[in-house]
């Protein structure tokens, strides 16, 4: 089943064309790595695909529905902007999310899973960047969406956090979730992903099986990063 279909997707940010004419298909249960140099447009593309940003031009269908009718409950996004309120505790932040959106996994379970249970009542403003990232994962896990879009999931995390992300990716893969992971840590996710997409200057310059892309190093594929 086609989970995501983007055609000629374009997004302008001020004077810059961050995403230019992107065609992309994501099939149910596949895990895709998005890669490219800094400023390639990866974050913008991921946000557009998650419906957090409207495309300037082009079309986007998620789960067979056009952008205007997308069921956002089935889409999960994790980006640099973690979306937390500093003046609320981790538990209070998750309670807000639980009150306003669908919850597939209990709050206490996800807090435990990401390792924040002991400090769940501390204000998020006192958290380190890594802890904030863990809390963002907790919110994503609580929603447990069918399509998971991750922008640099390893950034700011310590080695145990990296292991946590590895475990989550493996679990999502086993559960048949569709995952797009934008990362520079190619070797780390290489064994988990099915396909690879490389973005440069807002355009896709490589889209194919991850094994071929990695074998082509240092060619045009993701391994060239």
């Amino acid at each position: 089943m086609q989970v995501l279909q983007a055609r000629a997707l374009t997004r302008r940010l001020g004077p810059t064309w961050a995403v230019r004419g992107v065609d992309l298909d994501l099939v149910e249960g596949r895990m895709v790595m998005l890669n490219g140099p800094n400023g390639a447009g990866k974050t913008t593309l991921v946000r557009v695909l998650a419906t957090a940003l409207r495309p300037t031009a082009g079309s986007l269908h998620l789960f067979g529905r056009p952008l205007e009718a997308v069921d956002r409950a089935r889409v999960g996004l994790l980006t640099h902007a973690d979306g937390h309120y500093d003046a609320l505790s981790a538990r209070e932040n998750l309670r807000v999310a639980a009150a306003l959106g669908p919850v597939r996994r209990p709050l206490e379970e996800v807090l435990e899973l990401v390792g924040l249970a002991p400090r769940a009542d501390d204000m998020v403003g006192t958290y380190s960047a890594g802890m904030r990232k863990r809390l963002a994962f907790a919110r994503l896990l609580m929603k447990d969406p069918d399509l998971v879009l991750l922008d640099e999931p390893y950034a700011q995390l310590d080695p145990s956090g990296h292991a946590l992300v590895d475990g989550l990716l493996a679990a999502w893969r086993a559960a048949g979730r569709t995952v797009l992971v934008s990362t520079h840590m190619v070797s780390r996710v290489a064994s988990l992903v099915d396909d690879a997409v490389r973005l440069e200057g807002g355009r896709i310059i490589w889209n194919g099986p991850a094994s071929e892309a990695l074998a082509a190093a240092p060619g045009p594929g993701p391994a060239g990063e």
Partner: protein, 225 residues
């Protein structure tokens, strides 16, 4: 009922945030008091003039202070991308609007009520028609500021010069509500021998009905990026 419950959750979240960051509310209140004080300095010691224009000075102080309070409430939403997170939960935009607007209304009404004793003391004002009517008008007037204020604060929040943009967008729109609130408050303070209070209160109520309805419908377009 589900929408109402979610609306209450958003209001609760915003009130909790305002309580945890209450030093900022104190700053806004101090700004309002300073504005009242400056009017009395500007006019001079003529208590007759001060008393005659007291309602105008009060509402200008409330209006100026409210732009700061409204900007602040959305600074917390855009600081770490919380607005995007709420949209993608997915929460109904009407829930986000009415929940936030209700919290802003309570906050601005508290601000206006706290400014009343300063107005009475600084301008030597008598409340001829009673405190009950005055408090009712304060609630109606601040509701008139809050409805479009919340929507325009959301619109301005992502702009670089949001603190400047918000008053530029909001003030022209608020002229009818401001005139009605000033006239009605003046009548409550000094008496209503010509029975004009009903007309001005009716205008203020009509402004509220139009903008509380309209802004709830338009909010989706405002918060989509």
């Amino acid at each position: 009922m589900e929408l109402l419950r979610q609306c209450v959750e958003v209001t609760r979240k915003d009130l909790l945030l305002q309580w945890r960051t209450r030093s900022r509310f104190a700053s806004v209140l101090a700004f309002g008091v300073t504005t009242l004080l400056l009017f009395s300095f500007a006019v001079g010691p003529d208590t007759t003039v001060l008393r005659t224009h007291a309602s105008g000075y009060l509402w200008l102080a409330v209006l100026l202070a409210s732009t700061l309070a409204l900007s602040e409430s959305f600074r917390l939403e855009v600081e770490h991308g919380a607005m995007d997170t709420l949209r993608l939960l997915p929460a109904d935009p009407r829930v986000l609007y009415y929940g936030k607007a209700l919290a802003n209304l309570l906050s601005l009404a508290a601000l206006a009520v706290l400014l009343l004793p300063f107005m009475v003391a600084l301008y030597d004002v008598q409340v001829v028609m009673g405190m009950g009517r005055l408090l009712g008008l304060v609630l109606l007037g601040t509701a008139g500021l809050t409805a479009p204020g919340t929507m325009y604060a959301a619109l301005a929040a992502r702009a670089r010069s949001s603190d400047v943009l918000l008053p530029l967008l909001l003030f022209p729109l608020l002229v009818p509500a401001l005139v009605a609130a000033v006239k009605a408050t003046g009548l409550v303070l000094e008496g209503d021998p010509m029975d004009q209070l009903g007309g001005w209160t009716g205008l203020l109520a009509a402004f509220n009905v139009v903008y509380w309805t309209l802004c709830g419908l338009l909010y989706r377009a405002v918060i989509e990026d």
